[in-house]
Symmetry: C2
Subunit: 551 residues, 2 copies
């Protein structure tokens, strides 16, 4: 996606578009409709964003990019009286990610954890498209329609086929008065060979489905009469790389699913399945206190999960260990995971869950700023627009956090521009939140909890109106929970004292913490419909076991 050259080209198109939008909007909506209602079978040219123009609104238009924790929750909290809100995302739904591991393990259906952006009770427009570029001066976002993309997540099941021509969508420009960038991040692979092509990631419903399908697939392959015993062991070895909350909870969920459900269905495979959790760090769940971290490792080892900390992954390829690489992809057989410590290991599946990298839009498209956005820029101290001299001192670019590459935002979550002299200006109408943003002061952790708080804060800030002062955003740690399998969980909540003083309630280890975890997640499950569904399903699972179908 998007080389710099392509982005510049798109930006030019974008400017052309925005001009035509202005024109179109000033005509009556009737004439607009007529002008595009040609009888020719060709679609309307991309330069006529008709539908947007027919919704002229006196209310400021807030455009939100992304339907994750930040974008979705902000869209639900923005005042419909004050704003006309449009959410743009390649994904038409929000995913309640804390329960994503449960869908991979068959405890929940995908529909249980998904909330559609379109909702009859929410006054939010939606466009299924990916943002490709932003023109801060013209105040437009250039988008590419992604309705027919076969998958919106980054890890298609099989990457061998080249992208098909119809997957490229038409582009169109959307004007904004206020822009909120909440597009999230992609998985970070550290350039490890073969990972981008052959690993599964774990960020979206599509990923959970792939994991679910592959685990069942490996079990079915293992019982085929044509499968050799060695291949059977490799196929039933599941590797998860990254022992943060996602990797650890996925290992725990798969462990429960395999030991409680699958082993009853495949008695002939008893003792063969293995689950390995790799991390380069010497511990799992490093955001927890050392004692909890150790407790997690001990418990998970007892449950049969192989904890392979201090391991360095060197590559992932299709084919069995010892075979001459590179083998062609053949999902009937295993993959080989290579680590410095163990050499080659056969695995049926490798899930990669090791932290975040910026996606091409944030990395490449939000970079150089060819035209300085005079109307939007404020001096860093908020004392008004920057001086002529400052504006023309040198070229401007979007300010990013060092190393991470996230958008560097001020304490009001506003995006900033900088020049090579270290001058910074604030864009008063462009905000960023979630994992693609990094507040200069007091950056919160990259968690759903933090992003949710940012969305709530920004909604309050915008609903109150710009003129009013709002206290800067600050993250309030509500505690951290992690499920570690076999009805065990960890809970860490901050003590009344200092921010860094951690408190571990004795009685909340294990089963108790699991109970708290369940009820906490139920309460946070956005809609009542899904709250009821999840509760009912947990009850059924208790009675009948998890879902084992692969379809």
């Amino acid at each position: 996606m998007g080389s710099r050259a392509r982005i510049s080209q798109l930006l030019l198109v974008s400017r052309r578009h925005s001009a035509s939008i202005t024109t179109t909007t000033s005509t009556t909506s009737t004439s607009t409709t007529t002008s595009t209602s040609t009888s020719a079978p060709t679609p309307a040219p991309a330069t006529t964003p008709r539908q947007l123009a027919t919704h002229p609104s006196s209310k400021p238009r807030v455009v939100i990019l992304g339907s994750g924790w930040g974008g979705y929750n902000l869209s639900r909290k923005l005042s419909a009286t004050h704003f006309h809100t449009t959410l743009i995302s390649p994904r038409s739904y929000f995913v309640f990610t804390p329960l994503l591991t449960d869908t991979a393990g068959g405890s929940l259906d995908f529909s249980h954890i998904v909330e559609p952006v379109r909702d009859r009770h929410a006054s939010v427009d939606f466009l299924q498209a990916a943002a490709r570029a932003v023109d801060f001066a013209a105040k437009t976002v250039l988008c590419e329609a992604t309705v027919v993309k076969s998958g919106v997540t980054e890890s298609p099941r099989r990457t061998a086929t080249p992208p098909r021509s119809w997957e490229e969508g038409e582009t169109f420009a959307v004007p904004y008065d206020k822009l909120v960038i909440a597009v999230g991040t992609v998985s970070r692979t550290f350039g490890t060979p073969g990972v981008r092509e052959n690993a599964f990631f774990f960020k979206d419903v599509g990923d959970a489905r792939r994991v679910r399908r592959r685990v069942r697939e490996c079990f079915e392959l293992a019982v085929l009469p044509t499968t050799a015993p060695e291949m059977r062991r490799w196929l039933l070895h599941f590797a998860i790389v990254g022992a943060g909350p996602t990797g650890t909870e996925l290992a725990a969920a798969l462990r429960d699913f395999i030991s409680a459900d699958l082993m009853a269905l495949y008695p002939s495979l008893k003792g063969i399945p293995r689950l390995s959790l790799y991390d380069v760090a010497p511990t799992v769940l490093s955001m927890f206190d050392e004692s909890l971290s150790k407790y997690a490792m001990d418990t998970m080892r007892q449950e049969g999960i192989e904890i392979k900390v201090s391991h360095h992954v060197e590559g992932l390829r299709w084919g069995a260990p010892g075979e001459a690489a590179p083998a062609e992809m053949d999902p009937k057989r295993c993959l080989t995971l290579t680590t410095t410590e163990e050499g080659e290991v056969g695995v049926g599946m490798c899930v990669w869950a090791t932290g975040n990298a910026m996606n091409p839009f944030v990395r490449d498209a939000l970079a150089d700023v060819p035209t300085f956005p005079t109307a939007s820029a404020l001096r860093k101290d908020g004392s008004g627009p920057p001086s002529e001299e400052l504006v023309h001192r040198s070229a401007w670019r979007v300010k990013k956090a060092p190393k991470v590459g996230a958008l560097s935002v001020d304490e009001q979550l506003r995006v900033q521009l900088e020049n090579e002299h270290g001058d910074t200006v604030v864009l008063q109408d462009v905000f960023a939140l979630g994992d693609n943003a990094m507040p200069e002061k007091g950056a919160p952790p990259a968690t759903a909890q933090a992003t949710f708080q940012e969305a709530k804060w920004l909604a309050t800030r915008l609903n109150r109106g710009d003129s009013q002062q709002t206290a800067p955003f600050s993250f309030r740690n509500m505690g951290t929970l992690a499920y570690i399998g076999n009805a065990n969980a960890l809970l860490q909540i901050p003590h009344e004292g200092g921010e860094h003083h951690k408190y571990l309630p004795e009685g909340l280890k294990g089963r108790m913490a699991w109970l708290v975890w369940n009820s906490a997640y139920l309460t946070m499950s956005i809609s009542w419909r899904n709250k009821l569904r999840v509760a009912f399903r947990w009850m059924l699972n208790h009675l009948f076991g998890r879902d084992v179908s692969r379809y």
Copy 2:
């Protein structure tokens, strides 16, 4: 799949296999394991069906091909005391097809109507494979493993890419004492140009998912600012070809979903979506009495469904009406459906639901019988094995019903062989049921109800043992139900009088029939888990509306 030449080749392989199986089975299971437990990373050769050989059993081995109404229900009713049952199917689950339309419309999740073949309470072995050939003399089925096939149903979403090399599975032979063929049928397209490539079919969960995705996709495409008004109308025109129960109920379910749920989410598209039900016959639901059929047409027309009976479909292609064909597939745009009566019509989707054709296994592989199965064959009158003279009179082939091509079975559902002189013999250990079989006398309708009764009858017959006489199978019509939208349904039950005297209870039209329909289906929903789920979900739908997410 399978030309005759390939099948003959496979049969040769099959015979080689079965020889090796016999050898393997006669050794101890320990030595078998050792002999294939090589440390080389290559998989075991296909000629060593290890896993099967390690389950030597004194019980007769019943092999069932297919996991539909016939195969699945038979597997659940066969006595585990008397038989060792192995079910072989490319699909690892059974689908409760009467509710398939509900999943397409978002009223139910796929998991609600799916029952896995593997179940801890059922003593049934399962192999995820497709039968490719049967050697009646050696009593083996040659199978191809299909675990990693990207889809098991006949209508992959996009057929442009050629099948990938890894999709071809390894083959292996499975010995049987009794064989039951219940592989069902594929959709019949009458050779209509473009239908096989561009239409959706409606037989499996994958099909329902494709329909569900495409409908939502068309709505999202329609609201894109780059979509011209004409293309918008075409995209939102959904065509269903075939006004039998499947097509009619799908039209009804989509109509409900669009009018009750989608129109609330896309208010700007009011009045644009259309739903057309095509059939070559002059009426819908022709298996019902004329008065009911007319009631259905009137009601559905009132609901806004366009009933296009006496229409002849000539072709289906991608691209807009009037465009020079053939256009490449582009799901961002519409298809064109051509009928003799209307000419070219733009549609966003076309679902093809017009009856059954035999699949390649029944059509091509179950044809010539190179080696006469002396041990299995019985004279047609059941009076013992056929004479030497009869056996060698001329070449034998599997007996098929004329035109349809289904396996012609006797009143005990046994498969038969015939020669060119019109002689017929019965195979006493090969049975066929469901849509791929046609009893010579009193052929039942091609419905789930009939197949279910056949499976029940055959289970009783086999559980009692061959020696005992069982009354021949005969179909008992329990009545027919069809949902026609907006909480209306038709119910037709046979009267106490003659078989052809139909009874229409006045009070059971409309909403009452719908209630009966719902409770009948709930009761038939195989497992208690899914019964509860469906009931709970219907309650939630009533409160919150249907699922509208597309993921």
